[in-house]
């Protein structure tokens, strides 16, 4: 930090406070606002950046992943020195550097039935930075239940979709896209994605969020924006409420038959395993045990990353969650999880 120039919010925000549409009142609203960004990958790292710079007072960042080399062409919050760090930890640091006026809460967890409501119920707007439809449905239901506006965005290749769901005023995600399965939709690793695609959609999500918070203009409530950047095709469609939408009727129950203990990550040989019960690990003590047996690749405040046997890389998080890379099947992954937990940490 350059000590000769103190951080003065009045100067930092002066070029947007002068905006007639925002003004000092709007700036104050942003400062008092709370936003949760679910997923800080291609979309979330861009929306988080602009929301932080705009002066949103509180940002909760939620992501299960660590930073990988193939993320860096589009996930603008991260650089080479952040490789292997939990994304939320690197993102929180970067955002605090960019704007010390913002409070950031990093949460290195995946979105599940049992935590989604807790993570979103005390915020004003939820921003979607997810990469699969299953967790988007979970988020949509929680947002609908707690009546929190949900800024939906999705991007792949040279295409993007965007909307603002705020039922009962508007339709919800499942009114428009019911019964999708992730297997039927293309993923980033297969189809590819240009950094500017997620950059544009993430930026538009930040725009819609700021408009919602500061009550500016008209948002995409009840509309779906479809963008094809290959020929700059943009269309804004009216999306109707579906009269038989279970979410809008308030009759949804969590699809508890889906096992959430273990989940494969979008397009990797990487699996996420949650502990069977909530726990909080003492990473310092575990580090001492681990370093005697394994090559430690990284120790951060939220996780330890180490090399297990046979090219398998394990990221162990404070809450007992593990990301296991380079595994082929679930059985093997669970075996690795249990052996580490049993030998090194606790009885499970």
């Amino acid at each position: 930090m350059n000590v000769d120039i103190p951080f003065d919010p009045q100067i930092f925000y002066s070029r947007q406070i002068v905006l007639r549409e925002l003004g000092p009142q709007g700036q104050k609203k942003l400062k008092q606002s709370r936003v949760a960004i679910i997923g800080v990958g291609g979309l979330g790292s861009v929306s988080a950046l602009y929301l932080a710079l705009a002066g949103v007072g509180f940002l909760r960042l939620i992501d299960q992943d660590t930073v990988e080399l193939h993320n860096l062409h589009r996930q603008v919050l991260y650089s080479l020195e952040n490789l292997r760090y939990p994304k939320v930890e690197a993102a929180a640091k970067r955002i605090r550097d960019l704007n010390p006026n913002v409070e950031v809460e990093p949460i290195p967890e995946n979105i599940r039935t049992d935590n989604v409501e807790e993570l979103i119920k005390d915020v004003d707007v939820v921003v979607d930075g997810l990469d699969n439809i299953r967790t988007r449905y979970l988020l949509n239901r929680a947002c609908a239940k707690h009546r929190i506006p949900y800024v939906f965005g999705a991007a792949i290749g040279l295409e993007g979709n965007l909307s603002v769901f705020a039922p009962p005023e508007t339709p919800c995600l499942e009114c428009v896209f019911p019964n999708f399965k992730d297997e039927e939709l293309p993923t980033c690793d297969v189809r590819g994605v240009l950094g500017s695609t997620t950059g544009i959609i993430g930026t538009l999500q930040a725009m819609e969020t700021i408009k919602l918070l500061a009550n500016i203009g008209e948002t995409l409530k009840g509309k779906l924006l479809v963008c094809d950047f290959e020929n700059m095709y943009f269309v804004k469609l009216d999306i109707p409420k579906r009269s038989d939408c279970p979410v809008c009727q308030g009759v949804t129950t969590e699809k508890s038959h889906i096992s959430e203990r273990l989940a494969w990550l979008c397009g990797h040989k990487t699996v996420n395993i949650n502990p069977s019960r909530p726990m909080l690990l003492d990473l310092e003590r575990i580090y001492e045990k681990l370093e005697k047996r394994f090559k430690i690749l990284l120790k951060s405040s939220l996780a330890i990353v180490f090399e297990f046997y046979g090219g398998v890389e394990v990221s162990l998080f404070k809450n007992g969650r593990m990301l296991i890379k380079n595994v082929e099947d679930e059985e093997n992954a669970l075996k690795i999880y249990k052996s580490i937990m049993n030998e090194l940490i606790v009885e499970v």
Binding site: D131, E159, D182, E184, N231, D238
Partner: protein
């Protein structure tokens, strides 16, 4: 009639726009039967769009226009196939 393809459907079909010759007025479901094999998958057997796609007729979601057998189209109309995304 014009069938406009959006996003990666362009590379699936190998072109941006398909031209289908329609005589008079025919039900939309008959148009689906004229789709070339590359994009046949967009429509399920019963004539509904597959989850993952939106179909617009002259800019309006076909789901809001009634049943596919009842929607009549002519050579002047434009159908748009929009893939829905989930990446991020």
């Amino acid at each position: 009639m014009k069938v406009e393809l959006i996003g990666h459907m362009k590379s699936v079909a190998g072109k941006n726009v398909l031209e289908l010759k329609i005589e008079g007025h025919i039900p939309l479901i008959e148009v689906f039967k004229m789709f070339p094999k590359e994009i046949k998958d967009v429509i399920l057997e019963g004539g509904k769009p597959r989850p993952g796609f939106l179909l617009l007729l002259n800019g309006s979601d076909v789901r809001s226009l009634g049943k596919n057998v009842e929607i009549l189209v002519s050579d002047e109309d434009t159908l748009t196939i929009i893939p829905i995304l989930h990446g991020g």
